[in-house]
């Protein structure tokens, strides 16, 4: 596409006609300099930059992610996301444990290829720019974050658990099975969180996004992912997380609502987070609570594979409200 043709497409797909000189980037190394209104050209693909995505992570929410550009695909006007190369290494904190993490464009590109035909993973492909940067071109998923989906249930827990949870649980199992498929391909997600699942409006599937985090140890390669799955399960069963201070705060003066809690009822990683949800919601079946308890301080047996976790979860289905 010539510059004139690109300009024509920009005028066609942008709400505002472009004035002045059009800045066209082929080398994306200096991603901080790539601004809204610029065009990124990668092989035969051309994208109009609309701005940056923002961080959704707690504590960083709203911070722009300069290496993740919101773009319009100039071939058809569709919205896409471009993830440019940004290498960083940092310590991820899981409770009191620090984990050395790396951001790997190469890994994410590889997973995009491996999960191309799996509807439970975000879709996209990668292109190398002339500087050798692995740019990932992602379809934008329209739909709610799983975190918001669960948080937005505005009813008492018992109604949620009897009327909504069984259906959500089935869909969650399907989503966890997708994670098992990824693990069977010897890949990890690396950053499993309840806002890294989007509920795709097109097919209603719980869809995994953002898998560029990686780390390196081999004795228990899926440990961090399993921790993430446990958290999502807990969040779903409890219709949110429940912490000791929140319970104390909502009790009338003098009442000790946490007096029934033992240290082994709490999370192995977060000292105030309640894992033994059956003590709060006694209608939670034993089998399901038993799975949760594998993530508590009281456990001596940990899940080592998603397969083991799924086997136990599937066995819970018979005890759930129909």
């Amino acid at each position: 596409m010539t510059e004139a043709e690109i300009r024509e497409k920009v005028d066609l797909y942008s709400r505002f006609p472009h004035r002045g000189k059009l800045k066209i980037w082929t080398n994306t190394t200096e991603f901080m300099d790539i601004q809204a209104g610029d065009v990124i050209s990668l092989e035969e693909h051309h994208f109009l930059v609309r701005g940056e995505e923002v961080e959704g992570r707690f504590g960083l929410d709203g911070e722009p992610k300069f290496w993740v550009k919101k773009v319009i695909d100039l071939s058809d006007g569709s919205s896409k996301i471009l993830k440019l190369v940004f290498y960083e290494s940092f310590l991820m904190q899981i409770g009191p444990v620090n984990i050395r993490c790396f951001r790997s464009p190469r890994k994410e590109a590889r997973i995009l290829g491996k999960t191309r035909d799996d509807p439970y993973f975000m879709k996209g492909f990668d292109v190398q720019d002339p500087a050798g940067n692995t740019v990932r071109i992602l379809e934008r998923i329209q739909g709610a974050r799983y975190y918001d989906f669960i948080q937005n249930f505005s009813m008492d827990h018992e109604t949620y658990f009897h009327e909504h949870f069984p259906g959500i649980f089935k869909r969650l199992i399907d989503c966890f099975e997708a994670m098992l498929r990824l693990h069977q391909m010897e890949e990890v997600h690396g950053d499993i969180r309840n806002d890294h699942i989007l509920i795709d409006r097109k097919n209603n599937l719980f869809t995994w996004i953002d898998f560029d985090y990686t780390y390196e140890w081999a004795e228990n390669p899926f440990g961090v992912d399993l921790f993430g799955l446990g958290n999502i399960l807990l969040f779903t069963v409890g219709m949110g997380f429940h912490n000791l201070p929140d319970l104390k705060a909502c009790a009338p003066p003098g009442m000790q609502p946490t007096s029934c809690m033992e240290p082994e009822d709490l999370s192995l990683f977060f000292k105030h987070r309640i894992i033994n949800l059956q003590k709060l919601f006694p209608y939670i079946p034993d089998s399901l609570n038993h799975v949760l308890m594998h993530f508590s301080c009281g456990t001596d047996v940990f899940y080592e594979s998603t397969e083991e976790l799924l086997r136990d979860l599937k066995a819970c289905e018979v005890q759930l409200p129909s």
């Binding site: 790997s104 140890w217 001596d300 940990f302």
Partner: protein, 150 residues
């Protein structure tokens, strides 16, 4: 009968404790042969994309490991184990592999009667996230004794 002992050591002080223990225990077994095994893992290109950097890392680790193994060997000799009965083996792996699985493979191939590992004393949380080499070896070893030295 030859008595073959495999000591899996990393670069920690704790693994030298395991070496000392084996030296003390085996000094009266003239037929003992002791192999010190260490695995150097080349970082994955996912975490270290630059090939030159990866190669330099492996060279550095190999050198550091060699020094550590020589120190371990000296400690065995100082306890009375004959130098000719001590072997040093450094394996460099370009893939992310389980150390426990490599140790068990070496045990099987070399037909060692005893496998010795040090225990780092990881917390429950660390074990959940990262796993435990010694636990895995104890759980999966066949046809040999396993000594876990703390």
């Amino acid at each position: 009968m030859e008595n073959k002992v495999l000591i899996a050591i990393d670069l920690s002080e704790n693994s030298l404790k395991a070496v000392d223990y084996v030296g003390d225990m085996m000094v009266h077994h003239p037929s003992v042969t002791i192999t010190l095994l260490n695995v150097v893992r080349e970082p994955s290109p996912d975490v270290m994309p630059d090939e030159v950097e990866r190669e330099a890392y492996v060279r550095k680790m190999r050198e550091e490991t060699r020094r550590h193994m020589e120190e371990a060997s000296r400690r065995l000799v100082s306890r009375g184990i004959h130098e000719k009965n001590i072997h040093i083996k450094i394996q460099v792996c370009s893939k992310v592999v389980s150390i426990a699985e490599l140790v068990l493979k070496e045990q099987k191939e070399g037909q060692y009667q005893t496998v010795v590992v040090g225990r780092r004393g990881v917390s429950k949380r660390e074990e959940f996230l990262f796993g435990s080499i010694s636990k895995k070896i104890v759980g999966e070893a066949k046809d040999c004794a396993v000594w876990v030295v703390e």
